[in-house]
């Protein structure tokens, strides 16, 4: 199951998540490798999103949500009480299903993270951060002349890349993507996928997707979730060509889900 010569970045051990009385994740054990794209697939409501929200503790915001078990990043437990979530989220960025730029200018959208973390000492440094972030997200050429326009005036695909640039602006090590292309058309999707491929050189990426084709195109490792349990995790190649589990086989061939 372990892939050769790649370092484990995130390690989830016996992770259980409850929404009130309802259990959403059952004993999840999953290793995510560094500088690689890990895709999580599975039918709606199977707990993929719940799982990735455990990695940056976004579930803390939900009052009734309770997380048990352990998630380690670089060997350090993140579910401890004394872990500062702000520092954690600086390290683990997130891109959401629907593009959610702040109703501010493109520039301010990117600059917000660096400002609150004190990443830039002056305007020049900030300009530099904004430029590199937008360049990394392959958006710079499209928006460099209108950085003061509101982020919400961009097209859907551009907005999503703006959100990726915003996530990159604070120099994270991990980027979590929760169905980043589900609200986008095929052309915008292709651009984002190209971008993901590029980003994996420097970042560890976990992507939740409903599109098998997308998982095949962008990921090296795939995990199949069903009803809150991990059914199978393996290299993407293996999962889609020769899955070990019958259920995985049925799901990827479209027999259920």
């Amino acid at each position: 199951m372990e892939l050769n010569n790649s370092k484990i970045k995130i390690k989830a051990k016996n992770l259980n998540v409850y929404y009130g009385k309802k259990q959403a994740l059952f004993d999840i054990n999953l290793d995510i490798n560094q500088k690689e794209v890990t895709a999580l697939i599975g039918p709606s409501g199977c707990g993929k999103s719940t799982f990735i929200r455990c990695i940056n503790r976004m579930n803390d915001v939900i009052d009734i949500c309770k997380v048990e078990g352990s998630v380690e990043i670089d060997g350090a437990e993140i579910n401890e009480k004394n872990v500062d979530v702000v520092t954690l989220r600086e390290k683990v960025g997130m891109v959401f299903q629907k593009p959610n730029p702040f109703p501010k200018s493109i520039y301010d959208n990117i600059a917000y993270g660096p400002i609150i973390h004190g990443a830039a000492e002056n305007k020049d440094q900030m300009d530099k951060i904004v430029e590199t972030s937008l360049k990394k997200a392959a958006l710079w050429d499209e928006v460099k002349d209108r950085l003061n326009e509101p982020g919400t005036s961009l097209s859907g695909g551009q907005q999503q890349r703006l959100c990726i640039a915003r996530a990159l602006s604070v120099n994270p090590e991990v980027i979590l993507m929760d169905e980043p292309c589900s609200a986008l058309d095929p052309i915008a999707t292709a651009k984002i996928e190209e971008l993901i491929d590029d980003l994996k050189k420097s970042y560890t990426i976990v992507i939740v997707t409903h599109s098998m084709a997308q998982a095949v195109r962008v990921s090296q490792k795939t995990g199949f979730f069903h009803l809150g349990k991990i059914i199978e995790v393996d290299s993407t190649d293996k999962i889609f060509k020769n899955p070990a589990n019958k259920m995985t086989q049925d799901y990827i061939t479209g027999r259920f889900g």
């Binding site: 009052d63 702000v86 629907k98 109703p103 917000y112 993270g113 609150i116 915003r166």
Partner: protein, 420 residues
């Protein structure tokens, strides 16, 4: 029932519903028009004041001045004799009864109006000058056509003799109408022609300012805390239910609270804007908290997630993103809450703002009236002059409310950010 019949029935039901809607809308419009027409027809005449032009002889010998004539000595001088002397010359009188009737054509303030004119124009001393003097309420109303002249004399407020003088003055073009600045600059008075809303305007202003200063920050902080930070448990549920209950408490109950605690226990000065402002802010608080919380709730969760995911703390998320986005709704909620407070009468009556206050308050701790209470006070007066003043005050009050509501709508539309 065939398909065709059902279709017909459906069309008929739709038509009927539209008709009912149209009827209710037109009824509402008609009532508003009647109200506005009524207020305007009664109140518009309050904005003008009848003046009688009199040749005043500024005879310095009548002033019994000692020493040099300057503005200070004129201020102390007694102008009564001089004023009466000049006023009685407008028409021949055969006895003191008729003289009294002549003087009653003028507002009781004639002495001061004549004095003020000379203080402003000291060089007119020992000259005969034409001065316009405010007419009494009776002549004012007669001139505005509000008194029927064909009634028998004993049922009229204006005697035949006074009518003769009036007609004579009209003929000589001595009677004139001008804009009634007294309505805005003077405080309350027993004489309608001298009564103004200056005092109640200032009283309402101070009241609203105090109400704003107290209720706005408290309401904002309370709603931000309750909506964003407070844990969701039985205690916060209980608080939430009670805020909704408080918003529905009749305003007079807050008046009793103000009377019982602020006046009796804490012994704050009676009938002052300070007490009124505190009482009204108690009433306004829940009415601001509710729309504030609603507008905080309306900020989409995706914005919060976006901020949290780049590593903003809860506090930063709320104050950098949620609160600014909720601001338009918050502000318009506040303004509408204040507009309600501005029109509130009952609690102010209980805390003693119905007192007859002639002076215009210069600070929130001076006794004063307020606009809605002024309406209430004047509506009880019998004089025709107060009837038009009541309507004029209502017009002013409605004007302020419309302006405030307009600002609220404007703020909401102008600053509301669009998000997906």
């Amino acid at each position: 029932m065939t398909k065709e019949q059902r279709l017909k029935k459906r069309y008929r039901a739709e038509k009927r519903f539209k008709m009912y809607g149209l009827i209710s809308v037109s009824l509402a419009v008609i009532f508003v028009l009647i109200l506005v027409q009524n207020i305007f027809s009664k109140g518009s005449s309050a904005f003008s004041r009848t003046m009688i032009e009199v040749a005043v002889n500024y005879d310095s010998s009548l002033l019994e001045l000692e020493g040099p004539i300057n503005q200070n000595s004129l201020k102390d001088a007694d102008f009564y004799d001089l004023a009466v002397e000049s006023l009685l010359k407008i028409y021949p009188a055969k006895d003191s009864k008729e003289e009294r009737q002549i003087l009653r054509l003028f507002s009781p303030d004639y002495e001061f109006e004549i004095k003020d004119f000379l203080i402003k124009n000291p060089n007119k001393i020992d000259q005969i000058v034409l001065v316009k003097i405010t007419a009494s309420d009776d002549i004012d109303q007669l001139n505005k056509g509000n008194f029927p002249r064909d009634l028998p004399e004993d049922r009229r407020r204006v005697s035949n003799y006074q009518l003769n003088i009036y007609d004579n003055l009209i003929e000589k073009e001595k009677i004139d109408k001008k804009f009634n600045n007294y309505l805005f600059t003077k405080g309350d008075s027993r004489d309608p022609e001298l009564a103004g809303i200056g005092g109640s305007l200032m009283g309402s202003f101070f009241t609203i300012i105090i109400c704003l200063i107290l209720s706005f920050p408290i309401a904002i902080m309370a709603s931000i805390y309750l909506e964003e930070f407070a844990p969701k448990n039985k205690i916060t549920d209980f608080i939430e239910i009670n805020i909704n209950n408080l918003a529905a408490v009749p305003s007079i109950v807050y008046g009793l609270l103000g009377l019982g605690i602020l006046l009796s226990v804490m012994e704050f000065p009676r009938s002052t804007p300070l007490v009124a402002g505190i009482t009204l802010s108690l009433m306004t608080l829940p009415r601001i908290i509710i729309p504030c919380r609603a507008s905080l709730k309306a900020v989409p969760p995706s914005i919060r997630e976006a901020a949290l995911s780049v590593g903003a703390s809860k506090f930063q998320t709320v104050f950098h993103h949620v609160v600014p986005l909720a601001m338009p709704g918050t502000l318009s909620g506040t303004i509408i809450g204040l507009a309600q407070a501005l029109g509130e009468t009952a609690p102010l009556i209980l805390i003693g703002m119905v007192a007859f206050v002639v002076d215009i308050p210069s600070s929130p701790v001076d006794p004063s009236a307020s606009l809605p209470v002024q309406v209430y006070l004047w509506s009880e007066q019998a004089e025709r002059g107060f009837v038009e003043k009541t309507s004029a005050t209502i017009m002013m009050l409605l004007g302020f409310l419309i302006v405030m509501n307009f600002i609220a709508v404007y703020l909401r539309q102008k600053f509301e950010k669009k998000w997906n």
